[in-house]
Symmetry: C2
């Protein structure tokens, strides 16, 4: 047995209004390096109140990023690093304010500021040589678990794969459910479903254990409260719950693993540039033979919130596209190993995965 021994976020702040603590939290770190902070912020907030509440001081850099066109890329992170290092030098720290993409960009950039060359060199486990700079995650939408996970998932020219090591994990996380108040309904649902799917996949596989199970069980219960039960819907109380669920789902999969949905979803993102949480939903609805109860319940949630996922997508895909996606998915052996078992290669082939994609 390999020992499951993982790094926690150093500190987690929780509570409505806790964002106002950010200023004092980072104050003591401002003496590090070149005495300025870099804020990486979802462009969505450019005209929102939150933008004016960012505790940026003279000399700090606030960088707005549009996360809608594509998943975070290695080039995107390298460019941020090169631009800042080349002009002002090494930041005291970096704060990410946004969703999973912003969390991943922030985590990856914190590492790339101290590790030379392209981030493509570090996609994988423990390839990072030097600890990153101080980094803070402030999620503004709940579901991806990126606020607590050990990986910063980037799409590079060759692969979609995380920079995964101890130093990837945030030094500080601020969980302020108030920041998720303005999330649009469709993104609220798709991103929340990422947590739901994390838990179903974490639970249903060979690496599940009492630790990952307890986190998944509670996160699933919270997801049901938010998306299915009597008081379901986007309310302040449910925003609180979904923020906790996201963290717990992330901790569950850290001590277990994701599965078939995430493998296929990565293919959709890598080849067709679908956003991660939406891609998960597109795939998961068709995996009833692998996750029967989870798919049944997710369909109840879809119906409850009148979300209509597109069908028949694969009819527009060429055989080459489907093969390319299947190759991406097949390469994620750790996911298949968990979901199907150590002998997964006897059961899962490129052809089998192509069949799964053709269900979409």
């Amino acid at each position: 047995m390999d020992v499951k021994n993982f790094k926690n976020a150093d500190r987690i702040a929780f509570g409505r209004g806790s964002f106002k603590g950010l200023s004092s939290i980072i104050t003591q770190k401002r003496l590090l390096n070149n005495n300025f902070f870099l804020f990486i912020v979802d462009q969505y907030f450019a005209d929102k109140d939150l933008f004016y509440r960012i505790p940026a001081e003279k000399g700090d850099v606030v960088k707005l990023i549009n996360v809608d066109p594509h998943e975070p890329t290695t080039a995107q992170v390298d460019n941020i690093r090169d631009e800042i290092l080349g002009s002002i030098g090494l930041p005291s720290g970096i704060v990410g304010i946004g969703g999973g993409s912003i969390m991943d960009i922030t985590k990856a950039a914190s590492l790339m500021f101290t590790n030379p060359g392209s981030s493509t060199r570090y996609q994988g486990l423990n390839l990072i040589k030097h600890p990153g700079i101080y980094h803070v995650g402030v999620p503004t939408i709940s579901g991806t678990g990126a606020e607590v996970s050990m990986t910063a998932v980037l799409t590079g020219p060759e692969k979609k794969l995380g920079l995964k090591c101890d130093s990837t994990v945030f030094n500080q996380v601020i969980l302020d459910p108030e920041l998720t108040a303005s999330v649009p309904p469709d993104k609220w649902f798709y991103t929340g479903m990422d947590t739901y799917i994390h838990c179903i996949e974490s639970e249903n596989g060979y690496l599940n254990n009492a630790y990952s199970h307890a986190y998944a069980e509670q996160a699933l219960q919270l997801c049901r409260d938010v998306f299915l039960n009597q008081h379901a819907g986007k309310t302040p109380g449910n925003d609180d719950k979904l923020m906790v669920a996201s963290m717990m789902g992330g901790l569950s999969l850290t001590y277990s693993e994701v599965g078939i949905c995430h493998a296929l979803s990565y293919g959709l993102s890598k080849i067709l540039h679908e956003k991660h949480c939406y891609a998960n939903c597109l795939v998961f609805q068709h995996l009833e033979d692998y996750y029967p109860e989870g798919v049944r319940e997710m369909k109840q949630m879809l119906a409850r919130h009148q979300i209509n996922l597109p069908q028949g997508l694969s009819k527009q895909w060429t055989e080459d596209t489907i093969t390319a996606m299947a190759k991406v998915a097949y390469a994620l052996s750790h996911m298949w190993n968990h979901a199907v078992g150590p002998d997964w290669k006897k059961k899962i082939t490129i052809e089998k995965i192509k069949e799964l994609y053709k269900r979409l």
Copy 2:
């Protein structure tokens, strides 16, 4: 609103057999300070297999401690520090293997190795001046949550109060449920009830929030599986669950607070030297007007496991003893503030607390 921002254990290993990872986990730390490790071990294991599995190397010190006579004291921790510093110097790190008392001694000793004077000087919040040495917690009984909490509770000549700061928290926790296999039935129950009471107290008070609630709800569910439901009892599967519940209960109270039972229990321990978990059980059974559902369920658990708690204890106590205990309990204002509210002094008096003690 104060921001609830707490330090996590740096790393948490979980799994049956994970204790065998301890050797490699501490290897890289052996180069620190005077190149030896100090192991603080519950004397209970002196003739057990686990004792021979401790990865002590030449130059390391293994210190057996009998935790039965009393709760950990400031003098006990000071003596360990003085003895080791005076003979071999500053350890590379310290590993605690045992229950809540061993966890507290280990956490406190790690701090006292680098902070001069008696530990009585540091009982309170953020009084520690220098970070402690690298410290590892290996719990061998589940329930206290001391493996993840920010405090090292010590009884001193004047007060029972924790050394509470970021640096108190373990750098590494190893949760190996196999180590709890030989726990005697009575200690299994009383210590497990500490988690149950943590959760009931965390939930029922002014500081409860979605974060502490989610952890408490799941830990309570796990406690019901272990102590009440169809498959209740001391089984390997339930040992796994109780170890996770203990951690989750500890995380719940960190982001909320304990309450009336713990306040009174501290008085019992300080004045009459009752052990913490047992003292909690003695008190909690009589708090049905504060925690009606929790007390009712705890009594079901007592009946299920044929545990008979003594009654009529207070008949043997002098008025002075009861007054002394009530003064200890009254001083724990943070607990009353949570349980009763900011105006608790209007409702809770020394006389009222004495009445509660007289129920025992």
